[in-house]
């Protein structure tokens, strides 16, 4: 696990409670404090106006597949004021850790993982929030179960500068999950979130990134060959939806709602 930017003792003192370090992101560290996940924005600088807009929308979300934002406050830690976002804490670890440990999703649980993530994205899109950074590290597996995923770090990627990250796996780990059109410099879209869901679920099933090997240069040309094959035995409706989600053509990806409908209809 990566190292925190702030000292544990300082964090505990500021919050007046024991703090357990959970992870480090591009613009903040997350700690488990008093039964909540506190994201302390101590990393890259954040645009104030964007921050206000984003958290207002995120705060309106209340869905079992999306971590709940309880409040935002300013906390003084070791003489410096930081913003801290207080989220619901979901125990179980994230999908990145599970994959690092060699755990892949069993084939018969793939549909539940896919449907769960689409459900989360649908909830976000319905209130016009884009996640923009769906990746294994932002998928918490409640109680460690692939069938009970919860999305975290909502919408925060918009606040970070990711233009300089070009190699997989990069420290931030975002670019390998970005849709081809975003890599080409276009704006983030709902379709981009859907692409990321497709990539994450394919990776969770196969245990490897569907387009890139470690050390690969991130290049849109990699997409021309299509994603790595999925294992035999995977449900046809899951395979079909995953193929569409990882289509280079945005319109083939549909919407979260339509893909959920397809899974329900064809599954």
């Amino acid at each position: 696990m990566s190292e925190p930017r702030l000292e544990e003792a300082s964090v505990q003192e500021a919050f007046g409670a024991p703090a357990e370090f959970l992870g480090r992101g591009s613009f903040g560290d997350t700690w488990c404090i008093d039964g909540r996940a506190e994201k302390i924005l101590c990393g890259d600088p954040v645009d104030d106006e964007r921050f206000g807009r984003e958290v207002e929308a995120i705060g309106r979300l209340d869905h079992p597949r999306v971590v709940k934002l309880h409040e935002i406050r300013t906390v003084r830690i070791a003489g410096t004021d930081y913003r801290s976002m207080s989220f619901e804490y979901v125990a179980g670890g994230d999908a990145a850790n599970a994959l690092d440990q060699g755990r892949v999703v069993p084939i018969d649980e793939a549909e539940a993982l896919l449907a769960g993530l689409l459900d989360a994205v649908e909830a976000m899109h319905s209130v016009r929030v884009l996640h923009r950074d769906i990746k294994p590290a932002n998928v918490i597996l409640r109680a460690g179960s692939w069938t009970d995923p919860v999305l975290c770090d909502l919408g925060l990627a918009r606040l970070a500068d990711i233009s300089s990250i070009t190699r997989y796996p990069a420290q931030v780990g975002t670019v390998p999950y970005m849709a081809p059109e975003q890599l080409a410099g276009r704006r983030a879209t709902k379709g981009g979130d859907l692409w990321s869901v497709g990539v994450v679920v394919r990776q969770a099933i196969a245990g490897r990134h569907p387009f890139f090997e470690p050390g690969d240069l991130i290049s849109p040309a990699r997409f021309d060959a299509g994603p790595a094959a999925l294992p035999a035995g995977l449900d046809q409706s899951v395979r079909s939806v995953l193929d569409d989600l990882t289509s280079v053509q945005r319109h083939q990806r549909g919407t979260a709602r339509s893909n959920l409908r397809r899974l329900a209809r064809e599954g």
Binding site: H125, R187, T189, G191, Q249, T255, R257, R262
Partner: protein, 451 residues
Amino acid sequence: MTADDYVELELEDEIDEEEDVPDEPPAFANLPDGRALVLRGSEAGRVLPEAVEAARAVEGVRSREDALAGRVPLFLNQSSHKYFGREPEVLAALHADYGENLALGRIVRLNRYSAAIARERLDVPIVSIRIADPMGYTAFGDRLVIEAALPKPRHLERCPYLGELRKTPDHYAEDVLGAQRAAGANLLLTTGRGVGAADVAGAFSEISDEADEMFAHLEDGEHLALNLTLPYEFLQNQAVFDDVMAELSELDQFDVVYVRIQRPAPNDAGAPLADAAALRRMFEFGVWADREDVALLHAQTGLTGWLMLASGAVGFSTGGLPSDQTFVRQTSSGGGGLPPLERHFERSILHTVASATHDALVATGAPYREFPTRWGNDALAATPYDQALSAAHSLYSVGALTAETIPSATRRGGWSAGIHSKVHDAHSAAPSLGLGGRESPTHLGSWISVV
């Protein structure tokens, strides 16, 4: 006299006065408001104050939502400014003959009529869908290669909002919706502002903002469709097609898309689209709509829209004039391409021919097969050939073709087999008929490759 009395009287008349028995028995349809409409017979078009017994009525008028659901195709009649007189009668006959397999709708263009006349044109009791097209694209001639200076002063007089679409003042959404309500529309549209190939994302950004505005002004029970006007590059240029489809996929708040797609070239106005690549893109649009559960309605397509029912589109519109059937680059005279000639629609070849050619085909016999209608017969018997009756013949024929190619057991997405069969039959029959020039159904070769 009640509706039942009327029905009894009709039946008694048939029994007692055998010499007065009409050629067609009366048919009735119960209307959603509790009244009944006489569809056929000497009183066709008359509205009875009360509903008739279910056993005596043909399929009732479908609700708006049922008509949009894709269980049967939606046949939209673009009210013609020239040949509108017989359209209600033709629509009633289509409902009487094919109501089980066909939903009907009616469209008026708001820039062509006063609100009162538009309302009168939409007041056809048998239709499920009433659209008052705000014609917003006419304010974006530069994006759509419309050569004429539009909107013209008279258009602005009827639709003042057309002069404000580029400025989008606070009240424009209410104005556009209000104009449609005043005309009696029951499926409301966004403005239809043009999408330019040079800045697809910019145009969709405007459309998205507009959608927010218009949804905010909807009243209870109203249904808003996305009104999309696409440039010819959508069918011609893969990058533009991909951009439009990508942007459209982001607009997921609409479940109905009413689309007008410009023809790639100012070809024979009214003729079916024959460019295979363009047809394939149009087809992919329909496949997308079907998968996304979006009711796709093709405006101003004529028979090409019928073909697109095979792709997953729910409906299409046609009308009496070539300009009702194709959306081409408009000239300063308002039309496009060649002037309309004597054109008699032949269902057997999915194309039109001159009346003299029709007579020759009848004399030829198989593989030609005649599909006569009473309007077509009268048009052919008139001297000169009667264009108004011809328009009624075409309207009925395309409606009948639509209903007959759709097995009642299927819904959209399952209509391709019936359409393929009709196209295949026409394609097989055409070569032996010796047709040439504009009468030759050259489009069928491309159509076969698409369906």
